[in-house]
């Protein structure tokens, strides 16, 4: 059996096995001198949680290496991509242990504080990575060809969503910067490992077949999130910001992702919604204070924003491409400066100029005071947790609007405009009206998000709505994946969460994102989650990918037929 291996591969595989085993053993030894480093890696035979995390990856890696060895005869397709798993796992392990050593050095003042166990782990991980690199590519995993029963698919989706919730909660709960970074590296390694195995491909098929289950599970997990943050208002504040940002980004996604119009002043619509809600609120500084029920305020804010969208769209949507980008960029600045000038000296006093409208009172809906902490199921839900829940409802509505429009004649018209505006017009699509609708509709969604933001932040001022924010919104859409909801949610989370957690990095934040964007554009221009249409657009020459997508389509069709057969 072993004779079938080439000498090169044989050495590599056994080196990798030895390496992974070394990492597994090393967690029984201390990795660091000094309890301050990370989560106390100083015990013999008492691995810390982070050490256990590393051991988990090493164990999976080891299992994949051995399974690959057993599966060798015939070299046929295997259930999972064992070799790919082993390779990616090894590389991930090397990055992870490397990150741990750097973190230990940073926290304790030098690499001298790395114990023998740490070096052993690092050596093992590098060995596993190098060994893994010699392995040949796996044949395509056969997992996605198995038609698992629907309860199996549903269970898998629930497990996946629960793991995502658990990972998100664990990541947010990492207090120290080093812990957060190390955990982030581990998470990335784990995700890449699962992806390499071919499980993701199978999961996405299962998800496509059980959309409602997926959506339900995702929302249940999102609602469960505050319960994992017992009383931590700071974390929930970040989470609420993420949701506001994501809601706005989904609005922008209509304009950028579906219709293909570049809008660089989108934050103005969020601002319009926020200022409308603030000016109408019962704050002492509100100039138009009216006692209106909150849902009405939300609708008014959205409407004001969409009117603004129409105002800017009607004259400018006749230009396209770069020209539109410049016009919208200017519009964003005009909005900010106008809000600054509506202060009573340069114009009528509506917004109190650069002071904005502070002291917006908390919401009180159906007797539920959003300003108070509430005890539910023994868990304290803080003020920001309340707003987080409200924002979840709002964002659910925004997602419904986005997806329902996307899957309608209007959505098809939008994509047709993006693909070939002249052909769309020549096929009877009212391109101008549809572009205007996208502008107004996207602005409405942003305005709605803005109205909740006003209450969450308790104050609204013009300097929150600068060009940089528009750029970040666009970055969230592009990074996550244009035209998709899931992608934009992930993009928004990354772009809001990282700066909050990596505060020490603040000065280099823009540099970091610049680098991130450049890398994304080079290696994955379609974004983290690719719209299946977009994916092919960006990989024109990539025949393999086209075939993959075709195969997926065929398999998907097979699933579909089978389910249809079962039903009838």
């Amino acid at each position: 059996m072993i004779a079938r291996l080439s000498a090169y591969e044989r050495v590599g595989r056994f080196a990798a096995i030895a390496g992974a085993a070394l990492v597994l053993l090393s967690v029984m030894l201390p990795w660091a001198y000094g309890k301050r480093a990370l989560d106390d890696m100083t015990y013999f035979f008492g691995p810390s949680p982070l050490q256990l995390c590393g051991a988990g990856v090493a164990a999976v890696c080891l299992a994949a290496l051995i399974a690959g060895l057993v599966a060798l005869p015939g070299r046929g397709p295997t259930m999972l991509c064992w070799n790919d798993m082993a390779r990616v796992g090894g590389i991930g392990l090397a990055f992870y242990v490397g990150a741990v050593l750097v973190a230990v050095a940073v926290a304790t003042g030098g690499l001298v504080n790395v114990e023998a166990g740490g070096w052993l782990a690092f050596g093992g991980a590098v060995l596993a990575a190098l060994g893994g690199l010699t392995l040949p590519d796996s044949p395509q995993a056969t997992l996605s060809h198995f038609l698992t029963p629907s309860w199996g698919q549903i269970a898998a989706i629930v497990v996946a969503i629960a793991s995502a919730l658990f990972a998100a909660a664990a990541a947010v709960n990492q207090g120290d910067v080093e812990d957060f970074v190390v955990f982030g590296v581990w998470l990335a390694a784990a995700i890449f490992l699962v992806r390499a195995s071919g499980v993701f491909a199978w999961l996405s098929l299962a998800a496509a077949g059980n959309r409602q289950v997926l959506v339900m599970a995702a929302f249940v997990a999102a609602f469960a999130f505050p319960f994992t943050q017992n009383g931590s208002d700071a974390n929930m504040s970040v989470a609420a910001q993420v949701l506001t940002f994501a809601g706005t980004a989904i609005g922008l996604n209509i304009v950028v992702g579906l219709v293909g119009l570049l809008d660089l002043g989108y934050i103005a619509f969020l601002g319009a919604g926020a200022f409308t809600a603030a000016v109408l609120s019962k704050s002492a500084f509100a100039t138009l204070s009216v006692d209106l029920p909150f849902p009405v305020v939300v609708v008014i804010s959205g409407t004001v924003a969409s009117l603004l969208g129409l105002l800017i769209g009607t004259p400018t949507l006749r230009v396209s491409g770069d020209y539109l980008a410049i016009v919208t960029l200017a519009f964003g600045e005009i909005f900010r400066i106008t809000m600054n000038n509506l202060d009573g000296t340069d114009g009528p006093n509506i917004t109190h100029g650069s002071n904005g409208v502070p002291g917006i009172p908390n919401l009180n809906l159906f007797g539920f005071d959003f300003g108070q902490s509430h005890e539910i199921l023994g868990v304290t839900l803080t003020r920001h947790a309340n707003y987080y829940m409200l924002l979840l409802v709002v964002i659910a509505l925004i997602i419904v609007v986005f997806t329902n429009l996307n899957h309608s004649r209007i959505g098809r018209g939008w994509v047709a405009i993006r693909e070939d505006e002249m052909a769309a017009e020549a096929m009877g699509v009212n391109t101008f009206a549809l572009k205007l609708l996208a502008f107004a509709g996207g602005a409405f969604l942003a305005g709605v998000a803005g109205s909740v933001k006003a209450y969450t932040d308790t104050s609204v001022s013009p300097d929150q709505y600068v060009f940089l924010e528009s750029a970040f919104l666009l970055a969230a859409v592009v990074l996550g994946g244009m035209g998709t909801v899931m992608g934009v949610l992930i993009g928004a989370t990354i772009l809001k969460l990282l700066p909050e957690k990596l505060r020490f990095f603040d000065d280099y934040r823009l540099l970091l994102f610049g680098a991130l964007m450049v890398l994304m554009m080079r290696f994955r221009p379609e974004g983290i989650i690719a719209d299946e249409r977009r994916q092919l657009e960006f990989h024109d020459e990539d025949e393999e990918l086209a075939e993959d997508v075709e195969t997926e389509l065929v398999v998907h069709q097979a699933h579909h037929n089978l389910e249809g057969g079962k039903r009838s």
């Binding site: 329902n404 004649r409 959505g411 693909e419 020549a426 096929m427 009877g428 509709g441 977009r534 092919l536």
Partner: protein, 276 residues
């Protein structure tokens, strides 16, 4: 102008039929360049009319004038006696659909979605219907999907319904463009070089498809360079040279007209000079 016997026959053959599209004295100037000069053309119900002419004769420009992509400098285009509206989408709504010389499909949409875009102007559901999934939206969506599948089946693309149009073979893309145009429920179909780049076998299939479209009761105006194709297909043929109609008549007439031969091959004297 004297009328040849064949022309008289053609006139008589179409005289009892009503005119669907009538372009009278259409002129299109781009600055100093007159691309289309006083072109008049009639298409009757259920007729296949060919438009031939050497490269640069203004055939596609004339098409663009008919479909509202260009606004003619002067002249009038009428469908069923009514002047055609100025915008392309209004022209589509009035009942004139077209295909493009260089295929202009929505590349990153599936074949089915492409055809459904063609149905846009025949559906009414608005944003509110779509967001709230109201009955109107659902009924229309069902009907549109069904109709789109029907058109795909009509052009023989049923197996390709869920394939992105960019991944379709060339001949299929041409047929998909026709299906998309048919989905707008036109009375007149304008085909701009439907067999460009096709092999003889595909050309024969295209010919058969065009006849089947005619049998649905549509009139067809087709630009083509493949002479055998056009003379097999068309009831009448117009030859456009340097923006003007040179000859208009039956296939046989146009084929034998010395001016047409000259426009395509040059005059015999010139040929001799080249040889010398």
């Amino acid at each position: 102008m004297t009328m040849t016997v064949h022309e008289a026959v053609a006139r008589r053959r179409t005289a009892d039929r009503t005119v669907l599209l009538e372009a009278s004295d259409v002129t299109m100037r781009f600055g100093g360049l007159t691309a289309v000069n006083n072109v008049s053309l009639k298409v009757h119900y259920g007729e296949i009319v060919g438009l031939i002419g050497p490269n640069g004769a203004g055939k596609t420009t004339f098409f663009n004038c008919l479909t509202g992509l260009y606004k003619p400098t002067s002249g009038r285009v009428a469908l069923e006696g009514e002047k055609l509206p100025p915008k392309p989408r209004q022209v589509v709504a009035a009942g004139v659909a077209r295909t493009f010389q260089n295929i202009r499909l929505f590349h990153n949409m599936t074949a089915l979605e492409n055809v459904m875009v063609g149905m846009y102007c025949r559906t009414k559901a608005n944003a509110v219907d779509a967001i709230l999934r109201l009955p109107r939206h659902r009924a229309e969506e069902r009907a549109a999907t069904k109709a789109a599948r029907k058109w795909l089946a009509f052009v023989g693309l049923t197996p390709a319904a869920d394939v992105l149009s960019r991944n379709l073979p060339y001949g299929d893309q041409r047929r998909l463009e026709i299906a998309r145009a048919l989905a707008t429920s036109p009375k007149l179909l304008l085909l701009d070089e439907p067999t460009a780049g096709m092999n003889p076998n595909e050309t024969r299939q295209a010919e058969e498809l065009i006849f089947r479209i005619r049998d649905l009761g549509l009139a067809i105006l087709v630009i083509e360079h493949d002479m055998r194709f056009i003379f097999n297909l068309c009831d009448t043929v117009s030859c456009l040279v340097q923006g003007e109609v040179l000859v208009c008549g039956t296939g046989a007439e146009v084929q034998s007209d010395p001016r047409v031969i000259e426009a395509y091959l040059g005059s015999p004297q010139l040929e001799d000079e080249d040889d010398a």
